[in-house]
Symmetry: none
Subunit: 220 residues, 4 copies
DNA sequence: GATGAATGAGCGTTCATTCAT
DNA sequence: AATGAATGAACGCTCATTCAT
């Protein structure tokens, strides 16, 4: 009888190994955690659920990421790297107006490709929780790029200073992805379909043009 | 916890009763829940903490609000009413430009006075969770007012449709209150001081003017 | 079907209540914890086992005693009180020799009646762990009584100082209860039977007399 | 834990290997286990901690000692051998009184040199646990030597039988090492300093003389 | 209205142990 | 000989909730 059990066990493990060869357990944990943290927040996500989604033993999460907070950090960290890579591509050559359009285009693409990231920091930033330092680290990089780009056209202080435009432009971009789903029912069509995204892109460009026009006229 | 000294307890209760006459236990529960849900999110808040902050017996929360979800709904509901009252005041008479400025001023004031509300829906909207229906109900009212106001100057569809401006304008307002605190350290000064708020107000008005200018020129 | 479940539950609770009327749950928890901590030590005892032995819900232990350490403290505290009461009776009137015999008799009785206590502190004193402060508090009282009693006949310092006699006499008493059981198999008869205890008492008195004889002769 | 930097790891391993050549991993495991079991007891010690202290892979403990109980046995066994060797030296030639003094001197030295052993059996003997058989084996040897030595001067049964003197004398010796640390704060000075130990030795000799005096007088 | 006792499910985490390499 | 991945049971503890009073 015990022989049977062992046999079955071995088989199970083999099967699983085959299926998992491509990815590795720790990566699968990270992926599952990412999805769940994003959907349910830090407190709302249980390691058991992560383990179940990743088809992995509960203890293995601790083995790889020490504890729940470590897992969360690992998820954020992974985005931080993606974020950094994206930022590197945001700064372009050319005249100001083109550069800003390009930058917002790039940022829109990044957020669109990493929607979970947007939702994640939205949640954590709203609750000024224990993870803020990590979040802040992530935001700072973005701010510096945007502020650097806009800096030459704006006063350092006051209502037209870079920090206000940073919040306005990033809010305009991010909030589309975080709010739109909640309003989807209200609008009928999906806000993240290809056409809808293109339309939002157009809107953003239009707004940016409007702002730059005004800035130019003010300067004159 | 079991009683330690009955005498002390009785005294405590008297004191508490006196202090609380004006407010009522259920209101105190709501207030404590509001603060905690906002700071820690739904899952991160425990009824035990709510009870402690409200200086109320744990069972009483259940008595008044049935369960945790009921308490959360009650908190949102309360804002829904405040929101409704605020919306009523948003629509003004007069020429379009003034009306829009007035509306955004009103909205900014409302969010500024109900920062917790902003953080609360920001959290819940990001996690597309069980409470979305209630959130949606709250958002819809706002959307309709804003869309109604802007409707006359905008095309019904496309990148300049009201829904885009709704997201842009509300995102510009809300994200200041939710993101700015996370960047406070980066900027030095408090983003919610009186002067800082006035500055943000100015920024918003400047942006609105820029957008309306462009719209007018496009129309011409 | 659900009716059945409810019915059974109610019945269960009633039954239990009847059986427990006399004692109270928290007392039963304490009793079970006492037995288990003594037998398996602090680390070797699980709250689940305590709950099972006390026929009580796991969570109730936490409800009454906060956490495992609190439960352990409660067990020790209870003995501390018993200990204090016993100490009060140890100091007698009369000539020195009688007083010392009476004191050791009283201490032997106390330990005999609270064998778990002896084993408990024996364990905790050997591992210089987190609970030493509590243990120390318990020991200090005893030391002071014994040292006070012996003080008049002994030099304050050196190999005949009270502290050495304290350790010798208490060790002689306690070690019987802790070590003898381990040697029971070697000796055949039970070391805690009535006759065996009387014999040990006699031995102790004989030793004390021998020591006092020597002290007197030394003094002469 | 998964590797962080392979390079660093390899280096670490080399360093460790060099440092450990003289000792061998299994010996280092035993040493670490000894210290931890003594300080925290069997249940309070985790193999993880042993592995960490021994700077050894967790699995290696299992490889050498099968499981936790096996490791514990190995620790006790080691003392059993040391104990046996010490016992061999306890029995001396010469008149009774000298022989007994010499025996207690030897035993005191042995315990003083193997304090952990004393604490270990104290813990395990107090909790009449799963390891009693091994403990008993260790105690039996000692008992037989002591009883053999005292046998000629004592009645086989009753309050003056060897078993009582065995417990009294060994308790007097052991309890100094196990209790004294707990009373250290009470006494001010360290109980295991060289002078303090010499003083305790004197005390024990004084007691033994008193007992033998009394025995001689009783016999006369 | 209001309380405190009580429950059971589930939490994050630790643990001894297994096993392939 | 030695390692690190992996497991499953159990741990102390928190939780929302129920219920009698």
């Amino acid at each position: 009888m015990p022989a049977k059990t062992t046999a079955r066990k071995t088989k199970d493990r083999k099967e699983r190994k085959d299926r998992n060869k491509d990815e590795g357990r720790s990566a699968r944990i990270l992926e599952a955690a990412d999805a769940l943290f994003c959907e349910r927040g830090f407190a709302g996500t249980s390691l058991r659920d992560v383990a179940k989604d990743a088809e992995v033993n509960k203890g293995l999460i601790v083995y790889y990421y020490q504890n729940k907070a470590g897992l969360f950090s690992a998820v954020l960290e992974r985005y931080y790297e993606a974020h950094g890579a994206a930022l590197a591509g945001l700064s372009q050559e050319g005249p100001l107006r083109e550069r800003i359009h390009a930058m917002l285009d790039g940022y829109f693409s990044f957020i669109g490709d990493n929607r979970r990231y947007a939702r994640l920091i939205q949640q954590e930033v709203a609750r000024s929780g224990e993870h803020l330092p990590l979040i802040r680290k992530n935001l700072r990089g973005l701010f510096e790029v945007v502020a650097g780009e806009l800096g030459e056209a704006l006063p350092a202080e006051g209502p037209l200073s870079p920090k206000h435009f940073f919040l306005t432009l990033s809010g305009m971009t991010i909030s589309y992805f975080t709010y739109a789903p909640a309003l989807k029912a209200l609008w009928g069509s999906s806000p993240v379909g290809e056409l809808a995204l293109a339309e939002r892109r157009e809107h953003i460009h239009w707004v940016v043009d409007a702002l730059l026009d005004r800035l130019e006229r003010d300067a004159a």
